[in-house]
Amino acid sequence: MLLEIRSLTVAFGPVERPVRAVWDVDLSIDAGEIVGIAGESGSGKTTLCAAIVRNLPRAARVSGEMRFDGRSINAMSASELRQLRGREISMILQNPMTSLDPLFTVGNQLSEVLATRCAVPSGRLRERAVELLRSVHMTAPEHRLRQYPHELSGGMRQRVLIAMAGSTAPKLLLADEPTTALDATIQEEILVLFRELRDRRGTAIAIVTHDLGVIRRICDRIVIMYAGRIVEEGPVATVFSAPRHPYTQALLASVPVLDGDRVQMKSIGGQVPNLADLGDFCAFADRCPNAVDQCRAATPKESASGDRQRVFCWRADELS
């Protein structure tokens, strides 16, 4: 087990009426595994990532236990964290705009990463930087080194970041919406790059995204979050063909599929709940077609089946 998270809760706001962005989450990631964490905005997937590298805002109240490669992340000192971040866990963030320094050229920033994290001698920095940019399919890489982030498109900026993150052969790569800004054909290439990174260096990858297509395309396992909690988890093939949680079912039905005579799409009624209003009950109950009194009275217990699949729904066993 590379990463193990036990009952992680991240709360913000007043103690009497906390907003739990992540609530009682158990999650484990094996070495060399590609896991997709799916959820809509506000589901807690980004907060979960920030918690793993202990990069939460000060106001956050964290409880629970996180272990990475046998060591407790909770107990790490500042210098251990520095070693962890960037070298053992790389991160690709959602907004490529804010992840690059606008005052330095792409070449400067790539060289810095290569020099500090990979100990590349200064004479070879340029050559390695060009190589990195070529590996993420940047056109005219020599020219890009002289450019500033604002001169690149959003997609190209994201590719620079992916190049940086992959430069150190990390044990775990946390990618938060890594392909959202990219075009379909480029997205495909990036996913291939992710898989190559895993196959060649054994890097485990957690892809956080709302794009179920990306998860289906590359991930081994999918974790679905709703309002801060995991609602379903399992192998990609199983969950996509036979989702057990009503939210997963509704989510899959709302994605239009290109094949077939007609494109079908169903929308999920209602709105994502306000996290501050949630209590000890199923957060999806208000939008769920199968909800009964029990769903509004208590938080669903885990119902596990073989093949590392689990679902949090009171009626999962009865309805599937």
Partner: protein, 367 residues
């Protein structure tokens, strides 16, 4: 009948917007003080028609020129060559009064529902603003706003609140209500659901379809998600680096694509092939020095010398797709009236489709 529910002027199926040989260039920055002044051709001889009451879907990757076309139709950019007409009248020969009318007839809903709404105005003011700009009386505006909010499925008290109090999907509803306020005939929808959550997208797309059926609206839908474009569009045009490479009925083009680029896009979107099974080799073309001949040839597995020498024209791809719908039929779903014939800009699409063309591997410059 409410004023905004009257059938639009012009019959369903008539050509509402026509583009002919449209071209737009942008000047690129010089790399040095003595450098040549270079230009990027964003749109290169594009032609298509948008029929009244139907949806034209424009598909392409970033930089393909689809948003530039949308901006030209919105009269935000002036084409460098070619004709662009609305209702048979050229867009760039309008009088002041005609232009004012045009700006009312054509409205836009853009990608970012956060940037599109002023944070300082209440929703009521935002939705009513185009009407006040038209100089309508206060009472009429108030009544219209109430009706519009209801039309797009927002609660009654929504008008008294500010945009930040709404979610992304609700903001997009507000933007749609504002666009509908002046009873437009054409809505330019530039990636209207790309910034929204998956479950919200379906709601907005259904709303757009319902609005079209009820109000007889015409849409130009710019998007990159093929399934969504197919869901809303009657006709689809696929753009690649400023040129249209394939055009035709959405169901046909996106189920049975003919251009190698469209085939590639559809293969990815429908996940027909495993990840990485067929890699696109070759580099993306540099917009400052686009390849000769076919723009896609550097990434195309079937490219030959002819693709280097000769620009493939968008030509009719065969009679079997010709759709004959009797004129004047209005009950055709999604305005599938007068759907154009299939056109493809590839020298070899027929051979490729028949399996008679062997992959030659992408051709590099000067190969």
């Amino acid at each position: 009948m409410h004023a905004h529910e009257r059938p639009s002027v012009g019959r369903t199926g008539d050509t509402l917007v026509a583009l002919c040989g449209l071209r737009k260039e942008f000047a690129a920055r010089r790399t040095s003080a003595f450098g040549r002044r270079r230009k990027v051709v964003a749109v290169d001889g594009v032609e298509f028609e948008i029929r009244a009451g139907s949806t034209f879907g424009l598909v392409g990757e970033s930089g393909s020129g689809k948003s530039t076309i949308a901006r030209m139709i919105l009269k935000l950019e002036r084409p460098d060559a070619g004709e662009l007409s609305f209702d048979g009248r050229p867009l760039w020969q309008q009088t002041k009064a005609q232009e004012r009318d045009y700006r009312r007839h054509v409205q836009a809903v853009l990608q970012d529902p956060y940037g599109a709404l002023s944070p300082r105005l209440k929703v009521r003011e935002i939705v009513g603003e185009p009407l006040s700009a038209q100089g309508r009386p206060r009472a009429e505006i108030d009544a219209a706003v109430t009706r519009l909010l209801e039309t797009v499925g927002l609660a009654n008290d929504a008008g008294q609140r500010y945009p930040h109090q709404f979610s992304g999907g609700q903001r997009q509803r507000i933007a749609i209500a504002r666009a509908l306020s002046v009873e437009p005939r054409l809505l330019v929808l530039d990636e209207p659901v790309s910034a929204l959550d998956v479950s919200i997208r379906a709601q907005i797309l259904m709303l757009l379809r319902e609005m079209q059926e009820r109000l007889g609206l015409t849409y130009l839908f710019v998007g990159h998600d093929l399934a969504i474009v197919r869901y809303v569009s009657a006709v689809v045009g696929v753009m690649y680096f400023g040129r249209m490479v394939e055009l035709g009925p959405a169901d046909d083009v996106l189920r049975n694509p003919r251009h190698p680029y469209t085939r590639r896009l559809v293969s990815i979107a429908s996940m027909r092939q495993a990840l990485g099974a067929e890699r696109l080799t070759g580099e993306l073309p540099n917009p400052l020095s686009p390849p000769s001949g076919c723009h896609f040839r550097m990434r195309c597995a079937y490219a030959t010398q002819r693709c280097i020498d000769e620009v493939p024209m968008l030509r009719e791809s065969g009679d079997e797709d010709r759709v004959n719908v009797p004129k004047g039929r209005v009950d055709v779903p999604r305005g599938r009236v007068g759907v154009p014939t299939r056109r493809v800009a590839c020298h070899y699409f027929a051979e490729i489709e028949a399996g008679a063309k062997a992959a030659t591997g992408p051709k590099a410059e000067g190969a």
